[in-house]
């Protein structure tokens, strides 16, 4: 393999110091002179017609500068997919969930804003509430959106091969049901934003978002501003995991009030509001039928899924597709049928969350595959290996595995965990389980129909030659894209890591679709690499002219210009550089001509040196309806082995150890790759064992706090052994592809399979609380008594 200087290393994060010392500034830390504070009024009821809104008392409160309702905000619809724009800034005729936004206030301080919001009087005519998706599709159920009288907001029917016929040829066919629970993103930083408006320069919004570009487009569309007059920029962002990947009423209202008042306005969610706004993982009800041959060959899969969508579509159109399309692979499966239904209910809208649409499906299927392996008398790893896909394989739904280290991952966790010594040999109460999974490395298409590039980048060399400025609109949300893109720029240009200064997450820098679908390392990485190569070419061209050496006979590495031939005399250029910089410290010396000297001379010859890059995926597979959801330039994959202890008297599950192998194509930053693996595992462990957003009968979130919505603490996380597999993806920059989401796929089913190994009971409903395990153990005991 080629020798690299900056990539494939463990350089520290560019933002590490600021974050560790508390100097990093997040949206709620920002403040401006004359700034107003915003507060929202949200519906206390889950379904109601809005009869009347009286804002007069709120307006009269001293210190209040603006009060807005649908009357002021207008009726422009927005959402995520243009096919399902079903939201307006504020409720117009109806409130559809507890938390639906009714009005907002801007005032001189937060106390006043909150007091004023509470003074707004709303007359609700309560309507029947429907919380259960299966109730919602019954004849005569309350209708949530007039356009969808049966409450089915989206449905998908796909078939590849012929599943019914194929099932007839199988030796073993099993049907199982599975259900997860509605999740919360539980990012550390609740959404917050600050907007200000200048009639000449337009609107600026600083927001805690994963997708500045989509927010920019939505703001322009809904507020009726030219796109060029809307700038969206990120301060530091404290995590997103999906729910921050689209524009929200928080951002729209804050902007609206900034425009109306002419003053900066800041507004932030409380933790409760994060739960109400939600847009996190759906609840999925899967029924899977899988057929195999005696020898373990997978033949067919039939997948039916009902999704509890909540009150609006959000990312749900993509979700309902993903819940089907992310099965099949990483196994060679010739026949697959999917029927999916996304149903409106009077609950906070569900959207995208790490492993978008595929996590529950994966958990359901990998557990079923484990049962099938046991029924066939095969080791679960052998069974998987028998069907495993490899580089170059194409799935029945046309996903091209242009690289795929799935087999390598599975073999790595098998030996890394000591599987062969443990499986089937552990005492009761101890168990080991395995699972696999894969994920896209960037959605193949933008969420709106367009031929736009997905990522652009600009590199500008400072005129003195000493600094490489990287301007990328890509979104750093804590996952480390600033670091990885800095490394890519440095490597491609040939300078040191510290020579590159990255600025990111600003729509003024260009177009980048944002931090979702695990796309930025591959897509933004390509754009940055191209921009760096372009800048490098220009510098070398000038050198070539001045030294009379062909460009091909020069290279730049570690900040030095390397000549292929010995004895190049660059002393005249060095003298020129030193003369230019009389009085400056550190005149260049030594036997190598430096990049700094070369970049300065390039500027003197050509003016400012700027390189640009732009990326969009090439032609992708799939001509069928919905092929846009799942086709990707590359796919990452993971295998995990989990070891658990189950307390057979209380049912309590302890995860003792996790061994995880992930194929990220090529690790630009090894520490970041491991960080994503660990983070995915912890999120998966939380969903498997603890996390569930609960509701009372009126549709109010019953546990909108991080006390009662339990994400794992560090004491719940076991030691994780992370194994990086590198399959060199041909479509990725330097061979890199995703790690951010694929790594969560196997976690839940590996835990479920380990719990089964320990106890002999299968759990088909998350989370695996001690009470649920206890009940299943009791049932099993009673069943055995009867037999």
């Amino acid at each position: 393999m080629k020798e690299y200087s900056v990539i494939n290393t463990r350089v520290p994060r560019v933002d590490g110091r600021a974050k560790a010392t508390g100097k990093a500034r997040y949206a709620d830390d920002l403040s401006m002179p004359d700034m107003l504070y915003g507060a929202l009024l949200q519906s206390p009821v889950a379904h109601a017609r809005i009869r009347k809104i009286d804002t007069s008392k709120a307006k009269k409160l001293p210190g209040v500068k603006d009060v807005v309702t649908a009357q002021e905000a207008g009726a422009v619809k927005f959402g995520v997919s243009p096919a399902r724009y079903d939201e307006t800034i504020f409720c117009i005729d109806k409130a559809r969930y507890v938390g639906d936004e009714i009005a907002a206030v801007a005032a001189v301080d937060l106390e006043t804003a909150l007091e004023a919001a509470a003074l707004i009087e709303v007359e609700y005519e309560e309507l029947p509430v429907v919380l259960d998706p299966f109730e919602a599709i019954k004849e005569g159920a309350p209708v949530i959106h007039e356009d969808f009288p049966n409450n089915i907001g989206a449905e998908v029917h796909q078939e590849f091969g012929d599943v019914e016929e194929a099932l007839k040829t199988c030796d073993l066919v099993r049907t199982d049901k599975f259900v997860n629970k509605k999740q919360d993103g539980a990012f550390l930083e609740p959404q917050a934003c600050l907007a200000f408006y200048d009639p000449g320069r337009g609107l600026t919004l600083y927001s805690s978002t994963q997708a500045p570009h989509y927010v920019q487009r939505t703001l322009a569309m809904v507020l009726g501003l030219p796109i060029g007059k809307v700038r969206v920029a990120q301060p530091c962002v404290g995590g997103g995991f999906g729910p921050k990947a689209s524009a929200s009423t928080l951002e729209l209202t804050t902007s609206l009030m900034a425009i109306r008042t002419g003053r900066p306005v800041k507004m932030a969610f409380t933790r409760e509001q994060v739960f109400w706004h939600s847009r996190a993982r759906h609840q999925f009800f899967h029924e899977l039928t899988t057929g195999v041959k005696k020898d373990g060959t997978l033949v067919a899969l039939k997948n039916t899924c009902y999704l509890d969508g909540g009150a609006y579509s959000s990312f749900g159109i993509a979700t309902v597709y993903y819940a089907g399309s992310l099965l099949g692979a990483p196994y060679r499966l010739p026949n697959m049928k999917y029927d999916g239904y996304r149903i409106y209910t009077n609950k906070p809208a569900n959207g995208a969350q790490r492993g978008h649409g595929g996590v529950a499906a994966r958990a359901a299927w990998e557990q079923q595959l484990d049962i099938i392996a046991a029924d066939l008398g095969m080791d679960p790893i052998e069974f998987r290996l028998k069907n495993i896909m490899q580089r170059g394989d194409i799935t029945c739904n046309d996903f091209n595995m242009s690289s795929l280290g799935m087999k390598e991952c599975l073999e790595a966790v098998r030996s890394g965990s000591g599987w062969d010594k443990k499986k089937g040999k552990l005492p009761r109460g101890k168990g080991i389980g395995v699972a696999c999974g894969f994920f896209v490395s960037g959605a193949g298409f933008p969420i709106y129909r367009s031929e736009t590039f997905h990522s652009t980048a600009v590199i500008k060399l400072s005129e003195d030659g000493g600094t490489v400025n990287l301007y990328t609109p890509a979104a750093e949300i804590g996952q480390g894209s600033d670091t990885v893109l800095t490394q890519i720029a440095a490597e491609a240009l040939g300078v040191r890591y510290g020579d590159v200064k990255v600025s990111s997450g600003d729509t003024d820098f260009g177009v980048d679709l944002g931090a979702y679908s695990s796309r930025q390392t591959l897509m933004s990485g390509h754009a940055v690499k191209q921009a760096a190569e372009e800048a490098r070419r220009q510098v070398l061209e000038v050198l070539s002219e001045q030294l009379n050496i062909p460009v091909e006979e020069m290279d730049i590495k570690d900040g030095l210009v390397l000549f292929k031939k010995e004895g190049v005399d660059f002393s005249a250029l060095r003298t020129r550089y030193i003369k230019e910089h009389r009085g400056w410290t550190d005149p260049p010396s030594g036997k190598h001509f430096t990049f700094v000297e070369a970049a300065r001379l390039a500027y003197l010859a050509r003016g400012t040196i700027v390189g640009t890059g732009a990326y969009k995926p090439g032609e992708l597979g799939g001509k069928y309806k919905g092929a846009a959801v799942g086709t990707s330039p590359a796919y990452g994959c993971s295998a995990q082995v989990v070891e658990v202890t189950v307390d057979m008297e209380t049912g309590q599950v302890t995860v003792d150890k996790m061994t995880d192998a992930h194929d990220c194509g090529f690790a630009i930053n090894r520490t970041n790759v491991e960080g994503q693996m660990q983070g995915s595992l912890s999120m998966g462990l939380g969903e498997a064992l603890f996390e569930e957003v609960k509701f009372d009968g009126g549709g109010r979130v019953a546990n909108p706090t991080l006390g009662e919505y339990r994400i794992p603490t560090c004491l719940d996380m076991p030691n994780v052994e992370t194994i990086i597999i590198e399959s060199n993806e041909p479509n990725g920059p330097f061979g890199a592809k995703e790690v951010g989401e694929g790594a969560i796929m196997p976690t839940i089913p590996a835990i479920l399979n380990a719990v089964y190994d320990a106890t002999g009971v299968r759990i088909n409903e998350l989370p695996v609380t001690s009470e649920r395990v206890f009940d299943r153990l009791k049932e099993e005991k009673e069943r055995r008594k009867e037999v």
Partner: protein, 293 residues
Amino acid sequence: MHLLPKFDYYEPRDIGEACKLLSQLKGSARIIAGGTDLLVNMKKGLLAPRSLVGIGKIPGISEIEPVNGGISIGAHLIIQKLVEFDLIRKKLSVLSRAASVLGSPLVRNRATIGGNIVNARPAADLPPPLIAMGARVRLKSRRQEREVPLDRFFRGPGETVIKPGEILTHIVIDALPPFTGGDYIKLMHRRSLEIAIVAVASRITLDGPDGVIRDGRIILSSVAPKAIRAVRAEKALIGERPSEGLFEHAGQIAATECTPIDDIRGGAGYRCSMVGVLTKRTLSGALREAKGQ
């Protein structure tokens, strides 16, 4: 958004001044210790006292001291100290065990033992081991000072016998008889930052290293409006030779003595079953300690 309501703040320098202040402010004042319960409730709008009286500057109520073979614990002691102090770990290990599973390091470094008691939540971690060990609380007001056994202190969720104007100053535990041991187990969803699904504290005293059980206490928490004693299960132990079978039997009785509810943390049926398991296990733990193992 939850903002703290406005209030006046006082910081008396000694217990006398504090008592005087409380009696002057009558019902409009609240004592604030670590604030980990009080401020949360104030932010939620459940409480809006006009004044808060901080007791952090009062000398003599934040110490752990041996007295006549027993132990006196100042009410203002932060809970982390119960985890760390040798005297507690050696003589009242059941209390330090309970303290070590309360909240998180952040909470343990602010919250006080007094606040945990006076707050009177049905799932609070410190009352069960304290009741098991026969603790009394010392209450001081402007006019008098009195001691109340902790198992007669609680009346229901958030309700105690403390009167307005009274300050809890000390928790007193008399010398424990020889061959006494205790244990506390808190069943939690996750490992930290948890309110108990069910918790049980047990204590037994043997009449000799291999003797019969002379005295036994079983305190059930999170299964009734306040921590309760499983009286019939306790009776079943007295005079018996300790054994797994006996403890299992006591657990089965205890499971019938609680009145849990279904709530967001767990179902009533599961809680009853767990009372049985945890009673058995804590009795075994207490036995090991009583035998000095």
